[in-house]
């Protein structure tokens, strides 16, 4: 009885050329359109910009109810960005949400640290415009970087 490997075939058969063609096809096939990746990258970066502007502005405005209006505007913008992401993209690029959440977590931590430092300083000296700008510059980057990572990732 012939028991060569060829005759022991019990699963699906495939020639090397067919295998190469399948691998080539796999590398070209993705439900993630470049537009979907752009939507998630831009949306994530926009979240960073909005939060980076929100925190310093709430500190800068000392008018009555100023921060409340700003919070309402911030919430509306955040919902608008999230809604746009959900509707404009037909797929979620692999890892995009995880990268976005890491960026958001870092941005929130930096925001809290900035607020704590500003509160501490305000006991003795008013917060300067330069410090407010610095807060925005520090708060936005994690989500900007997250957006950049999402945009650059492939597959």
């Amino acid at each position: 009885m012939n028991t060569t490997p060829q005759n022991q075939h019990t699963g699906p058969g495939m020639s090397p050329d067919e295998a190469r063609a399948a691998l080539e096809q796999a590398s070209r096939t993705s439900a993630v359109a470049p537009r979907d990746r752009t939507v998630y990258a831009v949306g994530t970066a926009l979240f960073g910009v909005v939060l980076g502007a929100f925190v310093p502005l709430t500190r800068a405005l000392d008018m009555d109810n100023g921060p409340s209006y700003l919070t309402a505007i911030y919430v509306v913008l955040a919902i608008a960005i999230a809604t746009w992401q959900t509707r404009a993209a037909r797929s979620v690029p692999r890892g995009a949400k995880r990268v976005g959440y890491v960026g958001l977590a870092l941005t929130v931590v930096i925001s809290l640290v900035c607020i704590m430092i500003a509160n501490w300083r305000e006991q003795t000296t008013p917060t300067s415009a330069g410090l407010l700008v610095l807060m925005g510059v520090l708060i936005a980057p994690p989500m900007l970087v997250a957006g950049w990572v999402i945009a650059r990732r492939r597959g």
């Binding site: 075939h9 096939t29 037909r90 690029p93």
Partner: protein, 104 residues
């Protein structure tokens, strides 16, 4: 030669994923956390009914998860690979590479 104790690489091909349309579906989902049914349909270039049937087979094998929901008032269906589906796809690709290299 890198043949393993499990024999020729073709024995390591996943029979559920091996079918051409199912292979395309899994390949299209590999780069996504999840994708809309219509996006996969357009990528794989099959009809709704064919995609639905093949997705059911993949779902029964535990390789694909189907999630239904709404975007606004419009119903949507999202597809994603499960951890088992990703692992099976990686094993399948490894077997394909071995066959392509002639090392299976």
């Amino acid at each position: 030669m890198t043949s393993t104790a499990s024999g020729h690489a073709r024995h390591r091909l996943d029979e559920v994923i091996h079918a051409p349309v199912r292979f395309s579906i899994v390949a299209s989902l590999a780069g996504a956390d999840e994708a809309e049914f219509s996006a996969v349909r357009d990528t794989v270039e099959v009809s709704d009914s064919v995609l639905s049937r093949q997705v059911s087979t993949l779902e029964a094998a535990g390789y694909v998860k189907v999630r239904k929901g709404y975007v606004g008032k419009r119903p949507r269906t999202w597809l994603s690979l499960t951890a088992a589906g990703r692992a099976a796809y990686e094993r399948h690709l490894t077997a394909l590479r071995a066959i392509a290299d002639g090392s299976g």
